[in-house]
C-alpha cells in the first residue's frame, strides 16, 4: 500500500468525524483539498519546489492522529519566559488556553479582538472565518497545503479589528507530544484589519522520545496600514519533523516583519509565501538556522510583488556543523506593472565542518521596468584572520569561534522588534553555540 493510500483510507473512514469536529468554513474546503491531494500525492525531490526535502519519507512513519479530539492540556515551559506576553498553546493540533491566560482572553475580547481556537470560531463565527480561511494558503496549489486543509480541525485564530493595537506580544507555544509517534495537523488563521497592529511569537517544541510530525499551515491577512510582526522560534528534538507553511497577504501601506529562527531541530521544511497585494507596503523577511549532527533545514520562500511602490528585504543565514544540511531557495517575483519595486535578497552561510552541506538557490523573476532588485548568496568558512585577531587578544579559540558565529547571525536577530524577546533569543543562540541548550526538556533524545 502506498504511503498516500493509508492517509486516503483514514480520510474516508473519518470523514464524518472531521466534519463533526470543525465548523462549516473548514469543512467546506475539505473534499476539494482531499481530491487534489489524492491526485498529486506527497511531493518528492523530483519536484523543483521540494528538491531538497522529500515529503513522502517524512509522512512514511505510522503516526497516530488525534482525529477524535481527545483533550490535551499542557504544562510545557517554553524557554522564552518572562517576556510579558499573552500566552497560549497549541498542543499537537489543539488550541489550549492555560488557566493563567483566561483573563487575557477576556481582556482582549473586550477590545473586540477575536482570539482563541480556530475550531471554536469556525463554529461560532463562520462568516468571519469563511471570509479568510483558505484564501492565502489556497488548496489545489500544493499537496502539503491540500493535506492540511483536508485534515485540519483546529489551531489558533486571531482577528484584530480596525484600529485596534494589541499592546503586548502574543506568544503561541506549539508543542508536539504523545506516547506514540504523532502527526499534528495544525491550522492557524490571523487577520489584522485596517490599521490594526499585533506581534506574534510562535515557539515550536517537541516532547517525548518519538518521531513527531507537525504539519502547520498559518494564514495571515494584513489589512491596509496594518503592522504585523511574526517571529517563529523552532527548538525541537532530533526526531522531530516539521513541515510549516506560512502564507501572508499584505494590503496597501501595511508593514510586516517575519523572522523564522531554527535553533535546534530534526528535519524541517519551512515554506513562506508573501503576496503583496497593495501599494506602499514594507516587507522584511529573515531567518536563521543553526544545524549540527544530522539536522536538516530547508527554507523555501517566495515574495510576490504584485503592486508598484513596495519594498522588500530578505536575509537568511545558516551556520552548519557536523553533517547538517541546509537548503535555501528564495524567489522574488516582480509582476508586470509593479514598477518602483525595491527588493533585496541576501543569503549567507557558514559551514563549520567539511561534511556540512549547504544548497542555495536565490532567484529573481522580474516582469516590470524601473525596479531595484538584487540577490546575493555565499557559503564559506569562518574568517580565519578574524579568528586570529580575537585569539591574539587572549580570547581562547573556542570562545573566539563562538563570538564569530554569534556575530555572523546577529543581523538576523536584529530583525526582532520586541526587546525582551530579542534579548532572550540572543541568549538562547549563544547557549546553542556553546552547546548548553536544553532543547528537549529532559526527553533525552538529543543527548
Amino acid at each position: 500500500m502506498s504511503i498516500e493510500q493509508s492517509y486516503i483510507d483514514i480520510f474516508k473512514q473519518y470523514r464524518d468525524v472531521l466534519k463533526r469536529n470543525s465548523g462549516a468554513p473548514m469543512d467546506a474546503l475539505r473534499d476539494a483539498a482531499f481530491e487534489s491531494f489524492q491526485r498529486r500525492g506527497f511531493p518528492t525531490r523530483r519536484m523543483e519546489a521540494y528538491q531538497y526535502t522529500d515529503m513522502k519519507e517524512a509522512f512514511a512513519v505510522d503516526y497516530g492522529m488525534n482525529l477524535n479530539r481527545i483533550a490535551l492540556t499542557e504544562d510545557f515551559r517554553c524557554e522564552v519566559p518572562g517576556i510579558n506576553a499573552y500566552l497560549f498553546y497549541v498542543v499537537n493540533d489543539t488550541f489550549f488556553c492555560p488557566p493563567e491566560s483566561e483573563n487575557c482572553l477576556i481582556e482582549l475580547r473586550k477590545k473586540g479582538v477575536s482570539i482563541g481556537s480556530l475550531r471554536e470560531y469556525s463554529e461560532t463565527d463562520p462568516e468571519l472565518v469563511a471570509k479568510y480561511y483558505g484564501k492565502a494558503a489556497v488548496s489545489g496549489t500544493d499537496a502539503i497545503i491540500d493535506f492540511n486543509t483536508a485534515f485540519a480541525q483546529d489551531g489558533f485564530f486571531l482577528h484584530v479589528p480596525e484600529n485596534v493595537v494589541i499592546d503586548k506580544p502574543i506568544q503561541l507555544i506549539c508543542v508536539m507530544t504523545g506516547k506514540v509517534p504523532m502527526l499534528g495537523t495544525q491550522r492557524n488563521l490571523i487577520v489584522l484589519e485596517r490599521s490594526a497592529q499585533a506581534k506574534l511569537l510562535l515557539c515550536a517544541h517537541t516532547r517525548g522520545e518519538w518521531e513527531q510530525l507537525s504539519n502547520r499551515v498559518t494564514e495571515v491577512f494584513v489589512g491596509e496600514n496594518a503592522i504585523y510582526d511574526h517571529y517563529k522560534l523552532e527548538n525541537t528534538h532530533s526526531k522531530s519533523i516539521s513541515v510549516a507553511n506560512l502564507n501572508i497577504r499584505q494590503q496597501s501601506g501595511s508593514e510586516i516583519i517575519v523572522n523564522d529562527l531554527t535553533l535546534h531541530n530534526g528535519l524541517t521544511r519551512n515554506r513562506i509565501q508573501i503576496d503583496i497585494d497593495g501599494e506602499h507596503c514594507q516587507t522584511t523577511l529573515s531567518g536563521m538556522a543553526i544545524g549540527d549532527a544530522k539536522q536538516h533545514i530547508d527554507n523555501t520562500t517566495l515574495i510576490n510583488h504584485h503592486k508598484p511602490n513596495c519594498k522588500s528585504r530578505e536575509l537568511y543565514k545558516y551556520v552548519l556543523n557536523d553533517e547538517a544540511t541546509g537548503a535555501f531557495s528564495g524567489k522574488i517575483m516582480v509582476a508586470e506593472g509593479a514598477f518602483k519595486t525595491e527588493a533585496y535578497q541576501t543569503d549567507r552561510n557558514v559551514c563549520m565542518s567539511p561534511n556540512a552541506r549547504m544548497y542555495t538557490k536565490p532567484h529573481l523573476e522580474i516582469y516590470a521596468d524601473d525596479v531595484k532588485c538584487s540577490h546575493g548568496a555565499s557559503t564559506g568558512r569562518i574568517d580565519e584572520t578574524a579568528l586570529f585577531y580575537l585569539r591574539s587578544r587572549g580570547i581562547p579559540e573556542e570562545e573566539a569561534r563562538m563570538l564569530l558565529m554569534f556575530a555572523f547571525v546577529s543581523d538576523v536577530l536584529d530583525n526582532i522588534r520586541i526587546e525582551a524577546v530579542k534579548d532572550k533569543i540572543r541568549l538562547l543562540v549563544e547557549q546553542r553555540f556553546r552547546g548548553e541548550l536544553s532543547h528537549c526538556n529532559s526527553c533525552g533524545v538529543c543527548k
Binding site: 585577531y389 580575537l390 591574539s392 580570547i395 579559540e397 563570538l403 564569530l404 554569534f406
Partner: protein, 251 residues
C-alpha cells in the same frame, strides 16, 4: 631578559622569509626594527604573535623564560605579548565592548582573578579610551567596522592600554596615519611605557621614531638582522636609504 630570539627561521607557503633572526629585548627597552619592503619585518611580528599562516622551521624563542613557540596565540597574549596589527581586522557583529570585556576577563582568569564587574569594566574602558582620544561612538560599534585608517590604529593602542602587555610589537603602526593621528598614537604608546615593559617598533620610516624614541635600532634585510646600533642609525637610514647597507653586505 624579556624576549630572546635565537636563530629563528620561518616559512610561508614553503617560502623561507626569516633566515636566522637573533634578538634580545630587556625590560624597559624600546627597539626599532627597520628595513626595506619584503625584508621580513611583518613576518617576524606575526610569527611572534602565533599567526598559524607561518611555519617556524628552526630556532627558539623565549618570552619571560617560557618557550613562546609552544604557546597558543591566546596564551601568548595572556602571558603579556601584544601585537598591534598593521591591518586591524574588521569584525562586523562583535561589539568593541563585548570584545574587550571578553579579552580583559580572559586575561584576568589566566591570572586567577575574578572577572571585572560591569561598572568597573566600563570605568576602565573610559579611562583607557582617553589615552588615545578614542571616540565614544567608536567604542559602541563593531570591532573596526567602518573605522578610518587612523581610528583603527588608535583602536589598536587602546586595546594595548586595556591589556597592559609586557611586550608590545607595533607593526607599521604609523602607516596610513596623518601627523596628528601619529602624535596621538605615539603619545599613547609613550604613556604606557614603564620600567618593566618593552616594545618593538616596526617601521619603514624615521618619522614615528621622532615621537617614540628607540634605545636600539636594528636593520632587517632578507630575513636577517644585518645591523644593530643606537637611535642615530634611524636618522642615517632616513638620510641615506638602505643602499649603503646593501653595499656593506657586498651586494
Amino acid at each position: 631578559m624579556l624576549l630572546e630570539i635565537k636563530n629563528l627561521h620561518a616559512n610561508v607557503n614553503g617560502k623561507e622569509i626569516l633566515r636566522g633572526i637573533n634578538l634580545t629585548v630587556n625590560e624597559g627597552e624600546v627597539h626599532a626594527i627597520m628595513g626595506p619592503n619584503g625584508s621580513g619585518k611583518s613576518t617576524l611580528s606575526s610569527v611572534l604573535a602565533g599567526d598559524p599562516t607561518f611555519t617556524v622551521t628552526e630556532g627558539e624563542v623565549y618570552f619571560k623564560g617560557k618557550n613562546l613557540l609552544e604557546l597558543s596565540p591566546e596564551d601568548r597574549s595572556r602571558e603579556g605579548l601584544f601585537l598591534s596589527f598593521q591591518y586591524p581586522v574588521e569584525i562586523p557583529g562583535v561589539s568593541m565592548v563585548n570584545f574587550m570585556r571578553t579579552a580583559t576577563n580572559e586575561h584576568r582568569k589566566y591570572k586567577g582573578l575574578d572577572p571585572l564587574s560591569a561598572s568597573d569594566f566600563l570605568k576602565l574602558m573610559r579611562e583607557k579610551k582617553e589615552l588615545v582620544e578614542l571616540d565614544n561612538k567608536l567604542a559602541n560599534r563593531s570591532v573596526n567596522e567602518g573605522f578610518s585608517g587612523g581610528e583603527k590604529k588608535r583602536n589598536e593602542i587602546f586595546q594595548m592600554a586595556m591589556l597592559e602587555p609586557k611586550l608590545s610589537i607595533l607593526d607599521e603602526t604609523d602607516s596610513g596615519l596623518d601627523i596628528d593621528a601619529l602624535r596621538i598614537v605615539a603619545n599613547g604608546v609613550n604613556k604606557l611605557k614603564k620600567a618593566d615593559n618593552a616594545s618593538i617598533v616596526i617601521t619603514h620610516y624615521q618619522r614615528l621614531l621622532d615621537y617614540i624614541v628607540p634605545d636600539i635600532v636594528h636593520v632587517l634585510y632578507k630575513g636577517q638582522i644585518v645591523k644593530t646600533a643606537g637611535k642615530e642609525l634611524a636618522l642615517e637610514l632616513e638620510e641615506k636609504g638602505y643602499d649603503w647597507i646593501k653595499k656593506e653586505l657586498g651586494e
